[in-house]
């Protein structure tokens, strides 16, 4: 089944420029409904209020990190099926393993390019 490009995508990052970069890349890929949150807590509130087809989150944020967000999402009956991609500068193997163990669908290490983002979204959601 083809990916619905009108589905809401939530981009979570405390750095506005990174949100802008990811938003532009997603727009280029055809995703028209991109929303943003500045940290894990705000993202969780948004997710509890609306359904998202994909979450793309940074790791290192305060007061709630992307890793904590991932754990909360996977622990929630209503949210646990949400596809979740981590985009982060945290590149230690222990980070990748912890994220995988916590249920992340894919992991992108910063700096990244458009092709990498596209490839990971395809790997998680399917072709579009």
């Amino acid at each position: 089944m083809a990916v619905d490009l009108s589905m809401p995508v939530l981009v979570v990052d405390d750095y506005q420029t990174m949100i802008r970069i990811i938003r532009n890349l997603l727009n280029q890929l055809g995703f028209r409904n991109v929303e943003e949150a500045k940290d894990g807590r705000q993202a969780l509130e948004k997710m509890q209020a609306s359904k998202y087809g994909l979450v793309i989150s940074d790791w290192n944020m305060e007061p709630m990190t992307g890793f904590e967000l991932l754990q909360q999402v996977r622990a929630s009956e209503t949210l646990k099926a949400t596809p979740f991609i981590m985009i982060t500068a945290e590149s230690k193997t222990e980070n990748v393993i912890a994220a995988k163990k916590a249920g992340v669908n894919n992991y992108i290490v910063k700096p990244f390019n458009a092709e990498t983002l596209k490839g990971k979204i395809k790997a998680v959601l399917g072709d579009f």
Binding site: N24, Q28, W59, F67, E68, S91, K92, N95, V96, Y107
Partner: protein, 209 residues
């Protein structure tokens, strides 16, 4: 009164007792013993005095040395001038970087949304945008100079603190882990690695394959 003076006074007192007509044998023996003790104490306290004076001299020298080293540390200069200066430079780096990024992003977004219906106009628009991007990139020269100043400050502090610790023989002791450090450890907040990612994207991909 010094220890030797005290011992001398005790001895005089004992001699005085001996010459005052005491004839009972045990008391005479006690006085003799006291006499010997007073002599022994004189020797003992005399040596003790010298070692204590030596200790006090050592402590006084150490305190003077510590005062000299603390003075050489230039803690006030570091606290009041160098660290605030470095902090201002870093603030400026962040500000310049944000300004340049904003310009570059805006120009790129303008180009992405530009319609190439009129080719001449489109070409002029692209050329102008590119020039503005080049101009914005000049921030790197300034930030490089600012960062060099911060590095110089850090090196100065490193040198002073190292010299201070070495001169006083300071050794590291365990300090309690702060709540922030513990949180960073628990949540694996390692930050970006130096010289590129610690794990490459290819290696990460292999873990998700």
């Amino acid at each position: 009164m010094s220890a030797s003076e005290a011992a001398a006074k005790i001895r005089v007192a004992i001699d005085s007792l001996k010459t005052s007509g005491v004839r009972e044998r045990p008391l005479v023996e006690v006085l003799d013993l006291s006499h010997q003790m007073a002599d022994a104490m004189k020797t003992f306290f005399g040596s003790l005095d010298r070692s204590i004076i030596g200790e006090f001299r050592y402590i006084a020298d150490f305190i003077q040395k510590a005062r000299d080293e603390i003075s050489g540390l230039q803690a006030n200069d570091i606290k009041e001038t160098r660290i605030p200066g470095a902090s201002m430079e870093l603030d400026a780096v962040v500000r310049d970087t944000e300004r340049a990024t904003e310009t570059i992003m805006s120009e790129a977004e303008t180009l992405m949304n530009a319609e190439p219906t009129d080719l001449a106009l489109y070409k002029a628009e692209v050329g102008a945008a590119m020039l503005r991007i080049f101009e914005a990139c000049s921030f790197q020269d300034l930030t490089g100079q600012r960062v060099n100043k911060v590095i110089a400050t850090l090196r100065h502090i490193e040198e002073r603190v190292g010299q201070f610790a070495g001169a006083l023989g300071v050794t590291d002791t365990a300090v309690p882990v702060s709540a922030a450090d513990q949180r960073a450890k628990d949540l694996l907040l390692n930050g970006p690695a130096i010289n590129g990612p610690a794990t490459t994207q290819d290696d990460i991909d292999a873990m998700f394959a």
